[in-house]
Protein backbone atom coordinates (compact mmCIF):
# COMPACT_ATOMS: atom_id res chain seq x y z
CA UNK A 1 0.00 0.00 0.00
CA UNK A 2 2.75 2.41 1.02
CA UNK A 3 4.73 1.46 -2.08
CA UNK A 4 1.71 2.22 -4.23
CA UNK A 5 1.31 5.67 -2.66
CA UNK A 6 5.01 6.38 -3.07
CA UNK A 7 4.96 5.29 -6.72
CA UNK A 8 1.98 7.56 -7.41
CA UNK A 9 3.86 10.39 -5.69
CA UNK A 10 6.77 9.87 -8.08
CA UNK A 11 4.66 11.00 -11.07
CA UNK A 12 5.81 14.61 -11.69
CA UNK A 13 2.33 16.13 -12.06
CA UNK A 14 1.05 14.47 -8.89
CA UNK A 15 4.21 15.44 -7.04
CA UNK A 16 3.80 19.12 -7.96
CA UNK A 17 0.07 19.06 -7.17
CA UNK A 18 0.77 17.62 -3.72
CA UNK A 19 3.33 20.34 -3.08
CA UNK A 20 0.90 23.04 -4.22
CA UNK A 21 -1.76 21.72 -1.86
CA UNK A 22 0.82 21.53 0.92
CA UNK A 23 1.53 25.25 0.45
CA UNK A 24 -1.98 26.54 -0.23
CA UNK A 25 -3.98 24.77 2.48
CA UNK A 26 -1.86 26.06 5.39
CA UNK A 27 -1.73 29.46 3.68
CA UNK A 28 -5.50 29.77 3.39
CA UNK A 29 -5.96 28.55 6.98
CA UNK A 30 -3.43 31.20 8.07
CA UNK A 31 -5.38 33.83 6.15
CA UNK A 32 -8.61 32.79 7.89
CA UNK A 33 -7.09 32.92 11.34
CA UNK A 34 -5.11 36.06 10.51
CA UNK A 35 -8.42 37.91 10.15
CA UNK A 36 -9.48 36.54 13.55
CA UNK A 37 -6.14 37.55 15.06
CA UNK A 38 -6.46 41.01 13.54
CA UNK A 39 -9.85 41.61 15.15
CA UNK A 40 -8.66 40.23 18.49
CA UNK A 41 -5.35 42.15 18.54
CA UNK A 42 -6.90 45.44 17.51
CA UNK A 43 -9.68 44.78 20.00
CA UNK A 44 -7.24 44.36 22.87
CA UNK A 45 -5.22 47.39 21.75
CA UNK A 46 -8.41 49.45 21.90
CA UNK A 47 -9.45 47.87 25.24
CA UNK A 48 -12.28 45.85 23.70
CA UNK A 49 -12.74 42.08 23.66
CA UNK A 50 -13.14 41.45 19.96
CA UNK A 51 -15.14 38.54 18.53
CA UNK A 52 -16.06 36.10 21.32
CA UNK A 53 -19.51 34.70 20.42
CA UNK A 54 -18.98 31.97 17.81
CA UNK A 55 -17.32 28.93 19.35
CA UNK A 56 -15.01 28.98 22.38
CA UNK A 57 -13.39 32.45 22.62
CA UNK A 58 -14.69 33.18 19.13
CA UNK A 59 -12.41 30.66 17.42
CA UNK A 60 -15.06 29.74 14.86
CA UNK A 61 -15.63 33.37 13.84
CA UNK A 62 -13.60 33.20 10.56
CA UNK A 63 -15.50 30.07 9.51
CA UNK A 64 -18.82 31.75 10.27
CA UNK A 65 -17.71 34.80 8.26
CA UNK A 66 -16.69 32.65 5.31
CA UNK A 67 -20.03 30.80 5.38
CA UNK A 68 -21.94 34.07 5.50
CA UNK A 69 -20.06 35.52 2.54
CA UNK A 70 -20.44 32.30 0.52
CA UNK A 71 -24.21 32.22 0.83
CA UNK A 72 -24.73 35.91 0.12
CA UNK A 73 -26.11 36.90 -3.24
CA UNK A 74 -23.69 38.20 -5.86
CA UNK A 75 -25.12 41.42 -7.19
CA UNK A 76 -24.09 42.61 -10.64
CA UNK A 77 -24.47 46.39 -11.04
CA UNK A 78 -26.57 47.43 -14.02
CA UNK A 79 -24.42 48.08 -17.06
CA UNK A 80 -21.52 46.16 -15.55
CA UNK A 81 -19.32 44.07 -17.78
CA UNK A 82 -20.15 40.64 -16.31
CA UNK A 83 -17.14 38.74 -17.66
CA UNK A 84 -14.58 41.27 -16.47
CA UNK A 85 -16.51 41.71 -13.22
CA UNK A 86 -15.80 38.06 -12.40
CA UNK A 87 -12.29 38.00 -13.91
CA UNK A 88 -11.11 40.88 -11.67
CA UNK A 89 -11.17 39.03 -8.32
CA UNK A 90 -9.84 35.94 -10.09
CA UNK A 91 -6.74 37.87 -11.18
CA UNK A 92 -6.34 39.31 -7.68
CA UNK A 93 -6.37 35.91 -5.96
CA UNK A 94 -4.43 33.98 -8.62
CA UNK A 95 -1.50 36.42 -8.65
CA UNK A 96 -1.50 36.56 -4.84
CA UNK A 97 -1.31 32.77 -4.64
CA UNK A 98 0.97 32.22 -7.67
CA UNK A 99 3.70 34.33 -6.06
CA UNK A 100 3.99 31.65 -3.35
CA UNK A 101 5.35 29.17 -5.91
CA UNK A 102 8.89 30.54 -5.57
CA UNK A 103 8.89 31.16 -1.80
CA UNK A 104 11.33 28.77 -0.12
CA UNK A 105 10.45 27.45 3.33
CA UNK A 106 13.79 25.77 3.95
CA UNK A 107 17.07 25.05 2.17
CA UNK A 108 15.41 22.36 0.05
CA UNK A 109 11.73 23.14 0.62
CA UNK A 110 10.72 25.13 -2.44
CA UNK A 111 8.19 24.41 -5.17
CA UNK A 112 9.90 26.24 -8.05
CA UNK A 113 13.62 26.92 -7.53
CA UNK A 114 14.08 29.47 -10.33
CA UNK A 115 16.86 31.98 -11.03
CA UNK A 116 14.60 35.00 -11.32
CA UNK A 117 12.50 34.29 -8.21
CA UNK A 118 12.69 37.84 -6.86
CA UNK A 119 11.68 39.38 -10.19
CA UNK A 120 8.92 36.80 -10.50
CA UNK A 121 7.42 37.97 -7.21
CA UNK A 122 7.64 41.61 -8.35
CA UNK A 123 5.97 40.64 -11.63
CA UNK A 124 3.15 38.85 -9.80
CA UNK A 125 2.47 41.85 -7.57
CA UNK A 126 2.49 44.14 -10.60
CA UNK A 127 -0.03 41.93 -12.41
CA UNK A 128 -2.13 42.07 -9.26
CA UNK A 129 -2.83 45.74 -10.05
CA UNK A 130 -4.99 44.55 -12.93
CA UNK A 131 -7.41 42.99 -10.45
CA UNK A 132 -7.94 46.46 -9.02
CA UNK A 133 -8.17 48.18 -12.40
CA UNK A 134 -10.57 45.64 -13.89
CA UNK A 135 -12.74 45.67 -10.76
CA UNK A 136 -13.16 49.43 -10.87
CA UNK A 137 -13.70 49.66 -14.58
CA UNK A 138 -16.12 46.75 -14.98
CA UNK A 139 -18.34 47.91 -12.10
CA UNK A 140 -19.67 50.81 -14.20
CA UNK A 141 -19.60 53.05 -11.15
CA UNK A 142 -17.98 56.46 -10.74
CA UNK A 143 -16.97 55.81 -7.14
CA UNK A 144 -15.34 52.53 -8.00
CA UNK A 145 -13.35 53.99 -10.88
CA UNK A 146 -12.14 56.99 -8.89
CA UNK A 147 -10.91 54.65 -6.19
CA UNK A 148 -9.32 52.42 -8.81
CA UNK A 149 -7.25 55.33 -10.07
CA UNK A 150 -6.15 56.20 -6.54
CA UNK A 151 -5.31 52.64 -5.56
CA UNK A 152 -3.51 51.79 -8.79
CA UNK A 153 -1.47 55.00 -8.68
CA UNK A 154 -0.48 54.23 -5.10
CA UNK A 155 0.50 50.63 -5.84
CA UNK A 156 2.50 51.55 -8.95
CA UNK A 157 4.36 54.32 -7.08
CA UNK A 158 5.37 52.16 -4.15
CA UNK A 159 6.40 49.33 -6.45
CA UNK A 160 9.31 51.52 -7.60
CA UNK A 161 10.58 52.14 -4.08
CA UNK A 162 10.15 48.45 -3.30
CA UNK A 163 12.05 47.44 -6.44
CA UNK A 164 14.94 49.76 -5.54
CA UNK A 165 15.01 48.36 -2.00
CA UNK A 166 15.33 44.88 -3.48
CA UNK A 167 18.19 46.03 -5.74
CA UNK A 168 20.25 46.50 -2.57
CA UNK A 169 19.52 42.93 -1.49
CA UNK A 170 20.42 41.58 -4.92
CA UNK A 171 23.71 43.52 -4.89
CA UNK A 172 24.60 42.11 -1.48
CA UNK A 173 23.66 38.53 -2.33
CA UNK A 174 24.74 38.66 -6.01
CA UNK A 175 21.73 36.51 -6.88
CA UNK A 176 18.03 36.79 -7.63
CA UNK A 177 17.37 33.33 -6.24
CA UNK A 178 15.77 33.60 -2.80
CA UNK A 179 17.51 30.45 -1.50
CA UNK A 180 20.90 31.95 -2.45
CA UNK A 181 19.96 35.25 -0.78
CA UNK A 182 19.22 33.42 2.47
CA UNK A 183 22.46 31.44 2.19
CA UNK A 184 24.34 34.72 1.74
CA UNK A 185 23.20 35.76 5.22
CA UNK A 186 24.55 32.64 6.93
CA UNK A 187 27.79 32.35 8.86
CA UNK A 188 27.58 34.75 11.77
CA UNK A 189 24.16 34.41 13.33
CA UNK A 190 22.02 37.49 13.79
CA UNK A 191 24.87 39.83 12.72
CA UNK A 192 25.03 38.23 9.29
CA UNK A 193 21.51 39.25 8.33
CA UNK A 194 21.13 41.85 5.61
CA UNK A 195 18.93 44.03 7.80
CA UNK A 196 22.06 45.64 9.35
CA UNK A 197 23.92 46.91 6.28
CA UNK A 198 20.64 47.53 4.44
CA UNK A 199 18.65 49.00 7.35
CA UNK A 200 17.11 51.95 5.40
CA UNK A 201 16.20 49.62 2.54
CA UNK A 202 14.70 47.16 5.01
CA UNK A 203 12.45 49.83 6.54
CA UNK A 204 11.50 51.15 3.10
CA UNK A 205 10.75 47.65 1.84
CA UNK A 206 8.36 46.91 4.65
CA UNK A 207 6.62 50.30 4.62
CA UNK A 208 6.25 50.04 0.82
CA UNK A 209 4.82 46.58 1.37
CA UNK A 210 2.23 48.04 3.72
CA UNK A 211 1.38 50.66 1.11
CA UNK A 212 1.26 48.04 -1.66
CA UNK A 213 -1.27 45.91 0.13
CA UNK A 214 -3.39 49.01 0.82
CA UNK A 215 -3.23 48.52 4.56
CA UNK A 216 -3.45 51.13 7.29
CA UNK A 217 -2.04 53.80 7.48
CA UNK A 218 -2.11 53.80 3.65
CA UNK A 219 -5.62 52.37 3.31
CA UNK A 220 -7.24 55.27 1.48
CA UNK A 221 -8.69 52.64 -0.87
CA UNK A 222 -11.00 51.45 1.89
CA UNK A 223 -11.01 53.95 4.71
CA UNK A 224 -13.73 52.29 6.77
CA UNK A 225 -14.33 55.36 8.90
CA UNK A 226 -14.82 57.68 5.93
CA UNK A 227 -16.04 55.77 2.87
CA UNK A 228 -17.80 52.45 2.33
CA UNK A 229 -15.09 50.82 0.26
CA UNK A 230 -12.88 51.55 -2.68
CA UNK A 231 -12.54 49.74 -5.99
CA UNK A 232 -14.60 46.79 -4.69
CA UNK A 233 -17.55 48.90 -3.56
CA UNK A 234 -19.92 47.13 -5.98
CA UNK A 235 -18.81 43.62 -5.01
CA UNK A 236 -20.76 41.40 -2.66
CA UNK A 237 -20.72 37.85 -1.39
CA UNK A 238 -17.96 35.48 -2.42
CA UNK A 239 -16.47 37.86 -5.00
CA UNK A 240 -15.80 40.40 -2.24
CA UNK A 241 -14.43 37.63 -0.02
CA UNK A 242 -11.93 36.74 -2.75
CA UNK A 243 -10.55 40.30 -2.82
CA UNK A 244 -10.27 40.10 0.95
CA UNK A 245 -8.45 36.76 0.75
CA UNK A 246 -6.01 38.14 -1.85
CA UNK A 247 -5.23 41.15 0.35
CA UNK A 248 -4.40 38.97 3.33
CA UNK A 249 -2.39 36.48 1.25
CA UNK A 250 -0.37 39.45 -0.04
CA UNK A 251 0.21 40.71 3.50
CA UNK A 252 1.59 37.33 4.52
CA UNK A 253 3.71 37.26 1.36
CA UNK A 254 5.24 40.67 2.18
CA UNK A 255 5.94 39.43 5.72
CA UNK A 256 7.59 36.19 4.63
CA UNK A 257 9.66 38.05 2.00
CA UNK A 258 10.85 40.55 4.62
CA UNK A 259 11.86 37.62 6.83
CA UNK A 260 13.65 35.85 3.97
CA UNK A 261 15.45 38.78 2.40
CA UNK A 262 16.45 40.82 5.42
CA UNK A 263 16.24 38.57 8.48
CA UNK A 264 17.92 35.39 7.33
CA UNK A 265 14.82 33.31 6.61
CA UNK A 266 15.16 29.89 8.19
CA UNK A 267 18.62 30.61 9.64
CA UNK A 268 18.90 30.71 13.40
CA UNK A 269 19.92 34.03 15.02
CA UNK A 270 22.20 32.04 17.36
CA UNK A 271 24.12 30.10 14.71
CA UNK A 272 27.89 30.37 15.27
CA UNK A 273 27.46 32.74 18.19
CA UNK A 274 29.94 31.96 20.98
CA UNK A 275 28.01 33.95 23.61
CA UNK A 276 26.82 31.60 26.42
CA UNK A 277 27.46 28.61 24.18
CA UNK A 278 24.25 29.29 22.27
CA UNK A 279 25.95 28.50 18.98
CA UNK A 280 26.29 24.85 19.89
CA UNK A 281 22.86 24.38 21.50
CA UNK A 282 19.76 23.10 19.75
CA UNK A 283 18.70 26.72 19.13
CA UNK A 284 21.43 27.15 16.51
CA UNK A 285 19.88 24.77 14.00
CA UNK A 286 18.13 26.35 11.04
CA UNK A 287 14.53 25.29 10.66
CA UNK A 288 11.18 26.40 9.29
CA UNK A 289 10.17 27.39 12.83
CA UNK A 290 12.57 30.35 12.66
CA UNK A 291 11.05 31.43 9.35
CA UNK A 292 7.52 31.20 10.72
CA UNK A 293 8.34 33.13 13.89
CA UNK A 294 10.08 35.89 11.90
CA UNK A 295 7.10 36.07 9.58
CA UNK A 296 4.74 36.36 12.53
CA UNK A 297 6.68 39.41 13.77
CA UNK A 298 5.95 41.21 10.50
CA UNK A 299 2.34 40.02 10.37
CA UNK A 300 1.88 41.43 13.85
CA UNK A 301 3.44 44.72 12.73
CA UNK A 302 0.71 45.05 10.07
CA UNK A 303 -1.94 44.84 12.80
CA UNK A 304 0.00 47.08 15.18
CA UNK A 305 0.30 49.78 12.49
CA UNK A 306 -3.42 49.64 11.88
CA UNK A 307 -4.27 50.10 15.53
CA UNK A 308 -1.67 52.85 16.05
CA UNK A 309 -1.31 55.24 13.14
CA UNK A 310 -3.84 57.74 11.79
CA UNK A 311 -4.54 57.46 8.07
CA UNK A 312 -2.26 59.29 5.64
CA UNK A 313 -3.81 61.85 3.35
CA UNK A 314 -3.53 60.93 -0.33
CA UNK A 315 -1.06 63.65 -1.34
CA UNK A 316 1.07 62.77 1.68
CA UNK A 317 1.16 59.14 0.53
CA UNK A 318 2.41 60.20 -2.90
CA UNK A 319 4.97 62.59 -1.40
CA UNK A 320 6.33 59.88 0.91
CA UNK A 321 6.69 57.42 -1.96
CA UNK A 322 8.23 59.65 -4.60
CA UNK A 323 10.07 62.35 -2.69
CA UNK A 324 11.30 60.48 0.37
CA UNK A 325 11.59 56.76 -0.29
CA UNK A 326 12.94 56.73 -3.84
CA UNK A 327 15.77 59.25 -3.17
CA UNK A 328 16.78 57.38 0.01
CA UNK A 329 16.91 54.05 -1.82
CA UNK A 330 19.01 55.51 -4.66
CA UNK A 331 21.50 57.02 -2.20
CA UNK A 332 21.70 53.78 -0.25
CA UNK A 333 22.37 51.77 -3.40
CA UNK A 334 25.56 53.84 -3.79
CA UNK A 335 26.41 53.13 -0.15
CA UNK A 336 25.89 49.42 -0.79
CA UNK A 337 28.22 49.72 -3.78
CA UNK A 338 30.92 51.23 -1.54
CA UNK A 339 30.41 48.48 1.06
CA UNK A 340 30.62 45.93 -1.73
CA UNK A 341 34.01 47.18 -2.91
CA UNK A 342 35.27 47.51 0.66
CA UNK A 343 34.21 43.87 1.15
CA UNK A 344 32.70 44.80 4.49
CA UNK A 345 32.60 41.77 6.80
CA UNK A 346 30.56 39.68 7.35
CA UNK A 347 28.05 40.56 4.62
CA UNK A 348 30.05 41.46 1.53
CA UNK A 349 32.87 38.94 1.59
CA UNK A 350 33.19 37.44 -1.87
CA UNK A 351 32.89 33.70 -1.73
Amino acid sequence: MLDLILSIYEIPVINILVKIVAILVPLLLTVAYFTYLERKVIGYMQVRIGPNRVGPRGWLQPIADAMKLMFKEIIFPSGANRVLFIIAPTIAISTALAAWAVVPFGAEMVLADINVALLYILAMTSIGVYGVILAGWSSNSKYAIMSTLRTAAQVVSYEIAMGFALVGVVMAARSLNIGDIVQGQSGSGILGWYMWPLLPLFVIYFVSGVAETNRAPFDVAEGESEIVAGFHVEYSGILFAIFFLAEYANMILISVMAALLFMGGWLSPFAEVSFLGLGSSFLAGSSIIWLISKTIIFMFLFLWFRATFPRYRYDQIMRLGWKVFIPITIVWIYVVGIMYYAELAPWFIKG
Binding site: L119, A123, S126, I145
Partner: protein, 203 residues
Protein backbone atom coordinates in the same frame (compact mmCIF):
# COMPACT_ATOMS: atom_id res chain seq x y z
CA UNK B 1 5.07 19.25 -25.30
CA UNK B 2 7.20 22.33 -26.01
CA UNK B 3 5.85 22.58 -29.55
CA UNK B 4 2.27 22.43 -28.29
CA UNK B 5 3.03 25.17 -25.78
CA UNK B 6 4.72 27.28 -28.44
CA UNK B 7 1.78 27.03 -30.83
CA UNK B 8 -0.71 27.63 -28.02
CA UNK B 9 0.97 30.84 -26.88
CA UNK B 10 1.72 32.01 -30.42
CA UNK B 11 -1.89 31.54 -31.48
CA UNK B 12 -2.97 33.28 -28.29
CA UNK B 13 -0.64 36.18 -29.06
CA UNK B 14 -1.75 36.57 -32.66
CA UNK B 15 -5.43 36.37 -31.72
CA UNK B 16 -5.19 38.93 -28.95
CA UNK B 17 -3.09 41.21 -31.17
CA UNK B 18 -5.87 41.00 -33.75
CA UNK B 19 -8.42 41.84 -31.06
CA UNK B 20 -6.41 44.93 -30.09
CA UNK B 21 -7.01 46.50 -33.49
CA UNK B 22 -10.54 45.22 -34.12
CA UNK B 23 -12.27 45.79 -30.75
CA UNK B 24 -14.23 49.06 -30.69
CA UNK B 25 -13.80 49.97 -27.04
CA UNK B 26 -10.31 51.44 -26.42
CA UNK B 27 -10.16 50.16 -22.82
CA UNK B 28 -10.82 46.61 -24.01
CA UNK B 29 -8.21 47.05 -26.73
CA UNK B 30 -5.71 47.98 -24.02
CA UNK B 31 -6.63 44.88 -22.02
CA UNK B 32 -6.05 42.72 -25.10
CA UNK B 33 -2.66 44.38 -25.55
CA UNK B 34 -1.85 43.24 -21.99
CA UNK B 35 -2.76 39.68 -23.01
CA UNK B 36 -0.49 40.01 -26.06
CA UNK B 37 2.46 41.01 -23.86
CA UNK B 38 1.69 38.13 -21.57
CA UNK B 39 1.71 35.58 -24.38
CA UNK B 40 4.95 36.94 -25.80
CA UNK B 41 6.54 36.67 -22.35
CA UNK B 42 5.51 33.01 -22.33
CA UNK B 43 7.10 32.50 -25.75
CA UNK B 44 10.33 34.09 -24.49
CA UNK B 45 10.27 31.71 -21.55
CA UNK B 46 10.25 28.84 -24.04
CA UNK B 47 13.40 30.41 -25.56
CA UNK B 48 15.10 30.08 -22.13
CA UNK B 49 15.18 33.88 -21.81
CA UNK B 50 13.52 33.92 -18.39
CA UNK B 51 15.04 37.25 -17.34
CA UNK B 52 13.72 39.08 -20.39
CA UNK B 53 10.32 37.43 -20.04
CA UNK B 54 9.89 38.55 -16.45
CA UNK B 55 11.21 42.04 -17.23
CA UNK B 56 8.71 42.28 -20.10
CA UNK B 57 5.90 41.58 -17.64
CA UNK B 58 7.21 43.98 -14.99
CA UNK B 59 7.91 46.87 -17.34
CA UNK B 60 5.20 46.61 -19.98
CA UNK B 61 2.37 44.85 -18.18
CA UNK B 62 3.07 46.24 -14.72
CA UNK B 63 3.99 49.82 -15.51
CA UNK B 64 3.49 51.01 -19.09
CA UNK B 65 0.06 49.49 -19.66
CA UNK B 66 -1.20 50.62 -16.25
CA UNK B 67 -0.36 54.23 -17.09
CA UNK B 68 -1.82 53.73 -20.57
CA UNK B 69 -5.07 52.43 -19.08
CA UNK B 70 -5.16 55.44 -16.74
CA UNK B 71 -5.15 57.78 -19.70
CA UNK B 72 -7.65 55.77 -21.72
CA UNK B 73 -10.04 55.43 -18.75
CA UNK B 74 -9.94 59.14 -17.95
CA UNK B 75 -10.59 60.27 -21.53
CA UNK B 76 -14.12 60.66 -22.72
CA UNK B 77 -13.76 58.90 -26.05
CA UNK B 78 -16.53 59.13 -28.59
CA UNK B 79 -16.49 55.83 -30.49
CA UNK B 80 -18.54 57.01 -33.49
CA UNK B 81 -16.16 59.92 -33.92
CA UNK B 82 -13.25 57.50 -33.95
CA UNK B 83 -14.83 55.48 -36.73
CA UNK B 84 -15.72 58.53 -38.82
CA UNK B 85 -12.51 58.96 -40.82
CA UNK B 86 -12.21 55.30 -41.79
CA UNK B 87 -12.87 55.52 -45.53
CA UNK B 88 -11.03 58.80 -45.98
CA UNK B 89 -7.85 57.50 -44.35
CA UNK B 90 -8.01 54.06 -45.91
CA UNK B 91 -5.45 54.66 -48.74
CA UNK B 92 -2.84 56.01 -46.30
CA UNK B 93 -3.55 53.14 -43.92
CA UNK B 94 -3.06 50.59 -46.72
CA UNK B 95 0.20 52.27 -47.77
CA UNK B 96 1.54 52.23 -44.19
CA UNK B 97 0.45 48.62 -43.72
CA UNK B 98 2.17 47.54 -46.94
CA UNK B 99 5.37 49.37 -46.01
CA UNK B 100 5.34 47.70 -42.57
CA UNK B 101 4.71 44.30 -44.10
CA UNK B 102 7.52 44.83 -46.59
CA UNK B 103 10.04 45.67 -43.84
CA UNK B 104 8.97 42.72 -41.74
CA UNK B 105 9.22 40.43 -44.74
CA UNK B 106 12.66 41.81 -45.59
CA UNK B 107 13.88 41.16 -42.04
CA UNK B 108 12.27 37.83 -41.21
CA UNK B 109 11.55 36.09 -44.49
CA UNK B 110 14.16 37.39 -46.92
CA UNK B 111 17.72 36.37 -47.62
CA UNK B 112 19.22 38.79 -45.11
CA UNK B 113 18.17 37.58 -41.69
CA UNK B 114 15.96 34.55 -42.43
CA UNK B 115 15.66 31.72 -39.95
CA UNK B 116 17.64 29.37 -42.19
CA UNK B 117 20.74 31.56 -41.79
CA UNK B 118 21.02 30.72 -38.12
CA UNK B 119 21.76 27.43 -36.46
CA UNK B 120 19.21 26.16 -33.96
CA UNK B 121 20.25 27.47 -30.53
CA UNK B 122 21.66 24.83 -28.21
CA UNK B 123 19.57 23.63 -25.33
CA UNK B 124 21.20 24.74 -22.09
CA UNK B 125 21.67 22.68 -18.95
CA UNK B 126 19.43 23.23 -15.96
CA UNK B 127 22.07 25.28 -14.13
CA UNK B 128 22.43 27.75 -17.01
CA UNK B 129 21.70 31.26 -15.81
CA UNK B 130 20.28 33.62 -18.39
CA UNK B 131 20.82 36.60 -16.06
CA UNK B 132 24.52 35.89 -15.54
CA UNK B 133 25.08 35.53 -19.29
CA UNK B 134 23.17 38.73 -20.06
CA UNK B 135 24.94 40.68 -17.31
CA UNK B 136 28.35 39.57 -18.51
CA UNK B 137 27.58 40.65 -22.09
CA UNK B 138 25.96 43.95 -21.12
CA UNK B 139 28.71 45.09 -18.77
CA UNK B 140 31.71 43.96 -20.80
CA UNK B 141 31.14 43.85 -24.54
CA UNK B 142 28.24 46.29 -24.85
CA UNK B 143 29.01 48.55 -21.90
CA UNK B 144 29.17 51.75 -23.98
CA UNK B 145 25.93 51.05 -25.79
CA UNK B 146 24.38 50.26 -22.45
CA UNK B 147 25.58 53.50 -20.87
CA UNK B 148 24.53 55.57 -23.86
CA UNK B 149 21.05 54.03 -23.67
CA UNK B 150 20.92 54.88 -19.95
CA UNK B 151 21.91 58.51 -20.61
CA UNK B 152 19.34 58.82 -23.40
CA UNK B 153 16.66 57.53 -21.03
CA UNK B 154 17.74 60.03 -18.39
CA UNK B 155 17.56 62.86 -20.93
CA UNK B 156 14.09 61.64 -21.88
CA UNK B 157 12.96 61.75 -18.24
CA UNK B 158 14.36 65.25 -17.70
CA UNK B 159 12.80 66.47 -20.95
CA UNK B 160 9.39 65.02 -20.12
CA UNK B 161 9.41 66.60 -16.68
CA UNK B 162 10.62 69.99 -17.89
CA UNK B 163 8.00 70.03 -20.66
CA UNK B 164 5.11 69.39 -18.27
CA UNK B 165 6.36 71.34 -15.25
CA UNK B 166 4.32 74.47 -14.62
CA UNK B 167 5.05 76.59 -11.60
CA UNK B 168 1.84 78.01 -10.25
CA UNK B 169 2.78 80.12 -7.24
CA UNK B 170 -0.76 81.41 -6.67
CA UNK B 171 -2.42 78.09 -5.89
CA UNK B 172 -3.15 77.22 -2.30
CA UNK B 173 -1.11 74.17 -1.48
CA UNK B 174 0.85 73.00 1.52
CA UNK B 175 4.57 73.54 1.80
CA UNK B 176 5.39 70.39 3.69
CA UNK B 177 8.99 71.37 4.45
CA UNK B 178 7.70 74.53 6.22
CA UNK B 179 5.22 72.44 8.16
CA UNK B 180 7.90 70.04 9.32
CA UNK B 181 10.24 72.88 10.32
CA UNK B 182 7.60 74.60 12.44
CA UNK B 183 8.19 74.91 16.19
CA UNK B 184 5.64 75.04 18.93
CA UNK B 185 6.60 78.70 19.69
CA UNK B 186 5.54 79.70 16.16
CA UNK B 187 2.02 78.45 16.63
CA UNK B 188 1.29 78.65 20.33
CA UNK B 189 1.47 81.62 22.68
CA UNK B 190 1.13 80.98 26.41
CA UNK B 191 -0.46 83.99 28.09
CA UNK B 192 -0.42 84.55 31.81
CA UNK B 193 -3.39 86.44 33.15
CA UNK B 194 -4.97 87.11 36.51
CA UNK B 195 -8.07 85.01 37.29
CA UNK B 196 -11.28 86.98 37.36
CA UNK B 197 -14.87 86.09 38.12
CA UNK B 198 -17.36 85.77 35.31
CA UNK B 199 -20.72 87.49 35.39
CA UNK B 200 -23.18 85.77 37.71
CA UNK B 201 -20.53 83.58 39.29
CA UNK B 202 -20.48 83.41 43.06
CA UNK B 203 -17.33 84.52 44.75
Amino acid sequence: METILFYFFSAFMVLSALMVITVHNPVRAAFFLVLTFFASAAVWLLLEAEFLAVILIIVYVGAVMVLFLFVVMMLDINITELKAGFVKNLPIAIAVALAMFGTIYYVVGGDQFGVEHFATPDRHAADYSNIAALGKLLYTEYVFAFEIAAVILLVGIVAAISLTLRRRPNTRHQKIEDQIAVKSEDRLRVVEMAPHARKGERK
